[in-house]
């Protein structure tokens, strides 16, 4: 009896936390989305969202987030695989995670220098005989920096999944005559799919609402929904429209979560 009271007491902070910082903000966002710029209740914002500008922007955000996720995955999976085979895997893993301790803004500023006309990347290109070219403020640099930032978050879950893989399954596969490729396709990949899914979630969802990098690295040549939300809240002070865009972002994210959700199969 006493135990139960205590348990509820200890639950209280978490419940409060969830209500104040998760549920209430989402409700507020939805609530604000129904007010136009003059504070009148209306659906104008939703109507405005379905115009060419915002639909194009949604498509842009989607496309870039997709690119970032796919490229991260293509680099992260082999990396994670190799990591599990190395001798000091915890050390290697640490080395991959360390860069994510550094502030995002700081890294973005560093890339402005590296990708600049007279930066290190262009000096290398010149040295390699390719000749310098514009790197900063291009789609390439935007995707590159975003992938660089997100990649540790993709490697971690995949690494954990690969690490947990029972090696006897691989021996069994090879005993039964499966080639390396077949083993990967039929045994390793399906068994690490959960790691891939959670990796994709932690990359795709923040990538969808990136906004600082769009200005610093892409020079506002890439406009995503995140940029629009920032502008609506801080400059236009049209909170309703900002909230409406946020509602659509939440819907897209929920959809993506559902799509990649990890279903527990019966053991």
């Amino acid at each position: 009896m006493q135990n139960k009271t205590f348990r509820n007491l200890f639950m209280l902070p978490y419940a409060l936390w969830i209500i104040i910082f998760v549920i209430a903000p989402i409700l507020l966002v939805v609530y604000f989305s129904f007010f136009d710029i003059n504070g009148n209740f209306s659906l104008t914002n939703y109507k405005n969202f379905f115009t060419a500008t915002y639909l194009q922007m949604t498509l842009n955000s989607f496309w870039y987030a997709f690119l970032i996720t796919v490229i991260s995955l293509l680099i992260a999976y082999p990396t994670a695989y190799i990591l599990t085979r190395t001798k000091h895997k915890q050390l290697w893993l640490l080395l991959i995670i360390v860069p994510s301790w550094i502030n995002l803004l700081l890294k973005a500023y560093a890339f402005i220098g590296i990708f600049g006309t007279h930066g290190a990347a262009n000096r290398f290109l010149e040295w390699a005989g390719i000749g310098s070219r514009q790197l900063l403020f291009t789609d390439f640099s935007f995707v590159f920096v975003a992938v660089y930032i997100f990649i540790p978050f993709m490697i971690l879950p995949i690494f954990n999944a690969l690490d947990k893989l029972n090696p006897s399954l691989l021996y069994a596969a090879s005993d039964l005559g499966a080639s390396k490729w077949t083993t990967f396709r039929r045994v390793i990949f399906p068994l690490t799919l959960d790691g891939v899914k959670s990796g994709c979630q932690v990359v795709f969802i923040p990538a969808l609402s990136l906004f600082m990098l769009t200005r610093l690295i892409a020079g506002n040549r890439v406009i995503t929904l995140g940029t629009a939300i920032e502008q609506q809240f801080l400059v236009t002070q049209n909170w309703g429209m900002g909230a409406t865009i946020a509602v659509f972002l939440i819907i897209i994210m929920v959809g993506f979560m559902a799509l990649t959700s990890i279903r527990r199969r019966g053991v």
Binding site: Q56, G116, T117, R215, N220, L234, T236
Partner: protein
């Protein structure tokens, strides 16, 4: 369970102890009571040495916080929960803040140094008789360029030059809807306060034609990018130009004669103020000619303080690019408060312009 209870208790005790320590520390540093003054200013917009002098002279501790847009500043003051004693909005924001009743009236008897301000900058339409504000700095929007990076024989004198195809991929724009839309309106010969939708759509068309020449639309980074020779031309504020020229003397700055923006940043005392007496002291201190001269040399925007000019290096005061004569400033326009809906429309167009790709 017991261990859990004990740790719960320990955390509680530690929190209370920390709370007491913080309170003590704040009190020791003078962060409580009426001995502090919270100043809310643009980033990098005051000489830190001047603040120190003020603290030594008056015994008031200054808490200094910064913002990066008028809108962000106003939002924070509007929402309350802050105790800003001084804020530094631009003219159109003062109009808005007056409308929303966010400002205290100034007591001119407590600001005798107001006499040193040039008459040109007093009693302006956004605040008649300076009831709520005193000028801090003023400046213009114009074109910053690096003559060494311009194509052979090219000169930049006005907005039209930006559309020159030889400048392909060479222009940095400042990330501000009013600045860029205003530039487009001025190029077409309209007022930068124009709200006629036809004119604005025409401006959008005109701006979209500029897209091939635009390298990036950035914020404060434009200073660093220009200094690094990342682009030949930038559209920005006069103070940024001064900073860039400080780093690289070859740079030049021009205010287009067809029209551009003339702006004023001003001290106000927002309704969130707790130390109104101290706020007046601060404003008066900042308007002192010698202090103002020192501060201007540091910040490098243009000072409205005519006495301060006497204490400043001559080449700074005589530089027509930063102290244009009345003949030019008369052609420039001050932003008016266009109201929320027009501002939203400006921003919508600016967003469309940014989305446009050749």
């Amino acid at each position: 369970m017991k261990a859990l209870n004990r740790s719960f208790l320990i955390i509680l005790v530690v929190s209370v102890v920390l709370l007491i320590v913080i309170n003590r520390l704040n009190a020791a540093q003078g962060f409580s009571g009426d001995n502090t003054l919270t100043v809310y200013n643009w980033g990098d917009y005051i000489d830190p040495d001047v603040i120190q002098q003020f603290e030594e002279e008056t015994g008031i501790t200054v808490i200094y916080e910064t913002f990066d847009s008028n809108e962000a500043m106003m939002t924070k003051i509007e929402q309350g929960g802050t105790t800003y004693d001084i804020a530094v909005p631009s003219e159109y924001t003062i109009e808005k803040m007056k409308e929303e009743d966010l400002l205290f009236e100034l007591d001119h008897d407590k600001i005798p140094n107001l006499q040193y301000i040039d008459d040109r900058f007093l009693n302006l339409p956004f605040d008649e008789n300076n009831r709520y504000s005193t000028p801090y700095f003023w400046g213009t929007v114009g074109i910053i360029f690096n003559p060494e990076l311009l194509p052979e024989g090219m000169e930049i004198t006005g907005w039209h030059d930006l559309w020159d195809p030889r400048l392909e991929n060479q222009i940095l724009l400042v990330d501000g809807a009013r600045e860029i839309i205003g530039m487009g309106l001025n190029t077409l010969g309209y007022s930068l306060n124009d709200t006629n939708p036809e004119h604005l759509y025409e401006t959008l068309d005109q701006l979209e034609k500029l897209t091939p020449n635009i390298r990036a639309i950035v914020g404060d980074e434009n200073k660093m990018l220009m200094v690094n020779n990342e682009a030949a031309v930038a559209v920005g504020w006069s103070g940024d130009a001064a900073d860039i020229m400080w780093e690289n003397e070859a740079m030049d700055y021009v205010v287009p004669e067809v029209g551009s923006n003339l702006w004023f940043d001003n001290f106000v005392i927002p309704k969130t103020a707790k130390n109104i007496e101290g706020a007046h002291e601060f404003i008066n201190f900042m308007l002192d000619p010698e202090i103002s001269a020192q501060n201007t040399e540091y910040v490098s925007y243009s000072t409205p303080n005519k006495e301060a000019l006497k204490y400043m290096p001559e080449e700074m005061v005589n530089d027509e690019r930063f102290y244009p004569d009345a003949a030019l400033t008369d052609k420039l326009e001050v932003y008016e408060n266009l109201g929320k809906e027009n501002l939203a429309f400006y921003n919508e167009l600016f967003l469309q312009f940014k989305m446009y790709r050749k």
